[in-house]
């Protein structure tokens, strides 16, 4: 825990609790499922070709 605490000094103090909460929320986060066509349509065209 000591080693990972270094970042806390580099951001504004009031962000720290938010980021810490997000770190634990992200651990519980379900993996991203499939994405909608509407979302995928926003990708750059070149990338769309690669992912489809």
């Amino acid at each position: 825990a000591m080693e990972t605490a270094g970042w806390e000094a580099t951001v504004p103090a009031e962000w720290v609790p938010v980021i810490n909460q997000d770190i634990s929320r992200q651990r519980r986060q379900a993996p991203q499922g499939g994405l909608s066509d509407a979302y995928l349509a926003g990708m750059p065209p070149k990338r769309m070709k690669l992912t489809q």
């Binding site: 951001v11 651990r27 994405l35 979302y39």
Partner: protein, 315 residues
């Protein structure tokens, strides 16, 4: 405007009568003939006045193919006469294009030639004038053509319109789990186009207006907090903050692998980070993060080329 004598106004009147009586074909050909005559005589202002009124008139009579044809001539006249890309002229061409229904095949040609003309406004913007993009975006949004509206909003300066459109688009066509991703995608892409103001406005308006985002900042969704912090880090020019954020929010950023590529570009554009070595597939950001930590905060050493390939990435 152009006081080119009684001859012109008589001709215009005659043409108007032709259209009112339903002689569309004759009127269309007549407009074309006169247009070419004026242009040959270098009477550009007269040609523009004539062709604009002809296009408006034919379109108001639902003569879309001939109206679109005259619209193309208007843009041609703009190009030949070096007509400046200012609101008055953008209004003319956008106004015409916006009265052409989406299923008229010629509309696409009108849009692309208008955008082509609008590029003369600012050589640095390779994709066309932001004001024209905004007019097209709003029109396409009204037609519920979110896909194309989204493209034009990204090249406009209308972050508020973009946010409202994205809220509607997400609610109508996205998955609930993508509520934060819709705005993340737009914010990253605006930033890759060096449009920080629109990125910020889109973020704040979207999070404010979306019915599924009830509180914040800070938000319940980590990705939204990331965006909020990142925009502030960019504002403050703090590379270490940016790199910490990228690291602590990796699980959220990996939800769409392309986010890491966008962040690489953002690192280059706003923090002077060098481009990644090797193929751009997620590895770059880690390289840069590492370099950021090892080398401390180098500040902006202007190593990024300002022409920026970001536009190409999005086209």
């Amino acid at each position: 405007m152009a006081t080119s004598g009684r001859g012109t106004s008589r001709v215009l009147l005659k043409l108007r009568q032709n259209v009112e009586e339903g002689n569309y074909y004759e009127a269309h050909q007549m407009y074309r003939t006169l247009y070419h005559r004026y242009m040959a005589q270098k009477k550009h202002a007269e040609a523009i006045e004539l062709i604009y009124s002809g296009a408006s008139l034919l379109l108001s009579h639902n003569q879309y193919t001939s109206g679109a044809d005259l619209c193309l001539l208007l843009v041609e006249a703009f190009n030949i006469s070096d007509t400046p890309v200012v609101t008055e002229n953008i209004d003319k061409v956008a106004g015409l294009v916006c009265t052409i229904p989406s299923d008229v095949p010629e509309r696409g040609k009108c849009i692309s030639s208008a955008l082509q003309w609008s590029k003369t406004s600012n050589k640095a913007i390779k994709t066309g004038d932001p004001e024209l993009h905004q007019r097209l975006a709003v029109k396409l949004w009204q037609e519920k053509n979110y896909f194309e509206a989204r493209y034009h909003f990204l090249h406009s300066c209308d972050g508020e319109g973009c946010a409202s459109m994205l809220v509607e688009y997400h609610v109508a066509n996205g998955y609930p789990s993508e509520v934060d991703m819709f705005v993340a995608q737009a914010v990253f892409q605006y930033l890759c186009l060096k449009n920080k103001a629109c990125a910020t406005l889109t973020f704040h308006m979207y999070t404010e207006k979306h019915p599924a985002i009830s509180s914040g900042p800070p938000f319940i969704l980590p990705l939204l907090n990331f965006l909020w912090f990142m925009l502030m880090a960019i504002e403050g020019g703090k590379l270490t903050t940016f790199t910490v954020l990228c690291e602590q929010y990796q699980p959220s950023l990996k939800r769409d692998p392309i986010y890491l590529e966008y962040l690489d570009r953002i690192g280059q554009l706003f923090f002077g980070l060098p481009p990644p070595i090797g193929p751009p597939m997620g590895g770059g950001i880690l390289d840069n993060l590492l370099r950021g930590f090892l080398g401390g905060e180098p500040g902006n050493d202007d190593e990024t080329d300002s022409s920026g390939p970001a536009e190409e990435e999005l086209d």
